[in-house]
């Protein structure tokens, strides 16, 4: 901090910074902090949409959650999505990043191609893939039949619906993680590979002994981002399947949304579910924060 040439009164030294902070702090308080505590209060009441009064019900909303079959199913679906998506969502970008990092011509162009889907909205993504998956007239089924594969009923079958959702997710987010992995790979000193090559290491050995250990931190970090995002998955699934068929792809956020605003209008109950989800995510966020501090 530079010394100011003129003497500034102490009250101004305090007031001026807070004047700059004021717009942000006002918005932050009104739309982030207050709703957070308001939500906690709501979760302890039987508040309903369209009813002005509500009573304190203690932890009733929380203790009743296990009886809500659709809540439990949505929670299971969310975990299923997070788990099923983990390997492809991390593996595909990692593989592509390693391949692209071998000093290829057109590397930046190809990175752009892979990144492009990430710029699409969940709605656009859903519309495009619903069309590709169309069992009657979609092109995907045509090409699969061409190479002798009997196509699944994609979004139409409770068994294949979630894997289909995962497939669209991989297409959507690969570019994002690819950019992160590529950045990390570029930080790996080239002389390590050169030294390994001189010692007679194969490309495969270099990958396992040099690349992966040095990518470990990025890899764990990306895993945490992925999981935090996966627990909040909603938008593209909503456009693709609206949670169907037979609730097979219905995530927890959709259950919260419908409980509050579509079916039951039980705001207290929905607020309680939000807090349960929040606590699950916090567990993973704490991990993320620890990685950040280690950097």
């Amino acid at each position: 901090m530079a010394e100011s040439p003129t003497k500034v009164p102490r009250w101004r030294k305090i007031l001026v910074p807070y004047l700059y902070l004021l717009p942000f702090m006002a918005l932050f308080l009104a739309f982030r902090v207050i709703p957070l505590f308001y939500g906690l209060e709501l979760s302890l009441t039987n508040a309903r949409l369209g009813r002005t009064s509500s009573q304190f019900v203690g932890l009733g909303n929380f203790t009743r959650l296990p009886d809500d079959k659709r809540f439990v199913l949505s929670l299971v679906n969310t975990f299923t999505f997070a788990l099923e998506a983990t390997a492809p969502v991390l593996g595909v970008p990692l593989l592509l990043a390693v391949l692209l990092n071998r000093g290829m011509a057109l590397k930046n162009l190809m990175r752009s191609f892979f990144f492009f889907p990430y710029t699409l909205s969940a709605a656009t993504l859903g519309l495009i893939w619903a069309w590709l998956f169309d069992p009657l007239v979609g092109p995907l089924n045509y090409y699969l039949k061409l190479i002798g594969i009997t196509p699944p009923n994609w979004l139409g079958n409770p068994v294949s619906a979630m894997p289909s959702v995962v497939l669209t997710t991989v297409w959507w987010v690969t570019g994002f993680y690819l950019v992160l992995f590529l950045a990390a790979l570029q930080d790996v000193p080239v002389h390590l590979y050169e030294a390994a090559a001189i010692d007679g290491a194969s490309a495969w050995q270099s990958f396992w002994r040099i690349t992966l250990p040095l990518l470990q931190r990025t890899f764990l970090f990306v895993l945490v981002i992925h999981l935090i995002g996966a627990f909040q998955v909603f938008a593209h699934i909503h456009v693709l399947t609206q949670g169907g068929p037979a609730d097979a792809t219905r995530p927890i956020v959709q259950h919260i949304y419908e409980t509050a605003f579509l079916n039951r209008f039980e705001l207290g109950s929905a607020a309680a579910m939000s807090w349960v989800l929040f606590l699950i995510i916090v567990a993973f966020s704490v991990l993320q924060f620890r990685f950040l501090r280690e950097r």
């Binding site: 702090m25 918005l27 191609f113 990144f115 656009t124 938008a235 949304y257 929905a270």
Partner: protein, 295 residues
């Protein structure tokens, strides 16, 4: 027991293996390039479909050239026929996204400045709250925030979408980090010349921060333009819907006979970010690398 190969034999086998390796390298690069083109195929298919005349929408063999070509789906998308008019939604999305950019940049820059450059009591506390809030997922406050908007009579209003996003902890964090990376000497010189803090922020810091401001503007635009869950909840009247919501309703309301129109809508919604992506590719990639820190 393996015999020791003569020097000549070594050289020849080295030569052969080098050739094989180069051929393999070339082959895998070509395959990778083809794969990156294939990665774009779903988006290209959407584009092609949007130009097809209705009789050609459903052909037994997928046709990748939309001939004869028509603009009728685009015309239909912008005309209010049944359901939501995409034209209105486009205007709504533009208003919300552009206002968000202006507000987020102004509010974030003002708040980041004292956090980066001033000493004042409470600074560390404010910064800790800010970083802490980065870990609080938005879902936790959706239900209470809806009630806040309800009390303010702001449901189905632009500010319901714009103002909550304006308190961007990520924006403040990003700009603060960027300000810290700038040399302080210029500001000292300006202060000696008699500039006040406002002049230093607007005439010294902000012009130097263009890369960070552009990246933040792009991310804000992407977030607002593509947002799904929150607009779905607060924008229930058709004339107030944003583009992703209007597109989702196209999918919910129409059968496969309308794929031309639906794909035209998807293309329209993808174009602004596609243009941004082509123009500011490097900024976006650098920004994503930075946002990897945010998660």
């Amino acid at each position: 027991m393996q015999s020791i190969p003569s020097p000549k034999a070594v050289r020849r086998s080295d030569l052969v293996s080098a050739t094989i390796r180069r051929a393999l390298h070339w082959l895998s690069n070509t395959l990778l390039f083809l794969f990156s083109l294939l990665w774009l195929a779903p988006a290209v298919w959407a584009l092609v479909t949007s130009f097809k005349v209705p009789e050609n929408l459903f052909q037994p063999v997928p046709k990748w050239i939309p001939w004869p070509m028509t603009m009728m789906h685009y015309a239909e998308v912008f005309r209010s026929t049944r359901g939501t008019s995409i034209g209105t939604a486009l205007v709504n999305s533009a208003i919300v996204s552009l206002s968000s950019i202006v507000l987020v940049l102004a509010v974030s820059a003002a708040a980041a400045y004292p956090l980066a450059r001033m000493q004042f009591p409470g600074r560390n506390l404010v910064f800790a709250c800010l970083v802490g809030s980065l870990m609080v997922p938005g879902i936790i406050s959706v239900v209470p925030l809806y009630l806040v908007m309800h009390r303010l009579h702001w449901l189905n209003s632009y500010q319901a979408l714009i103002l909550p996003d304006a308190a961007s902890a990520f924006g403040v964090f990003m700009l603060r980090q960027f300000f810290l990376s700038l040399p302080i000497e210029l500001e000292d010189a300006a202060r000696i010349d008699g500039a006040n803090s406002w002049q230093i922020l607007t005439q010294v810091l902000l012009p130097l921060s263009q890369p960070a401001l552009v990246a933040l503007a792009i991310f804000t635009f992407q977030g607002a333009w593509n947002d799904y869950a929150w607009p779905l909840i607060v924008m229930t009247k058709q004339r107030m819907m944003t583009l992703p919501i209007a597109l989702a309703y196209l999918r919910f309301d129409y059968t496969s006979a309308f794929y031309g129109k639906i794909m035209a809508g998807a293309v329209v919604s993808a174009i602004p970010l596609l243009i941004l992506f082509i123009v500011a590719n490097r900024r976006i990639v650098e920004g994503v690398q930075f946002s990897g820190l945010k998660g």
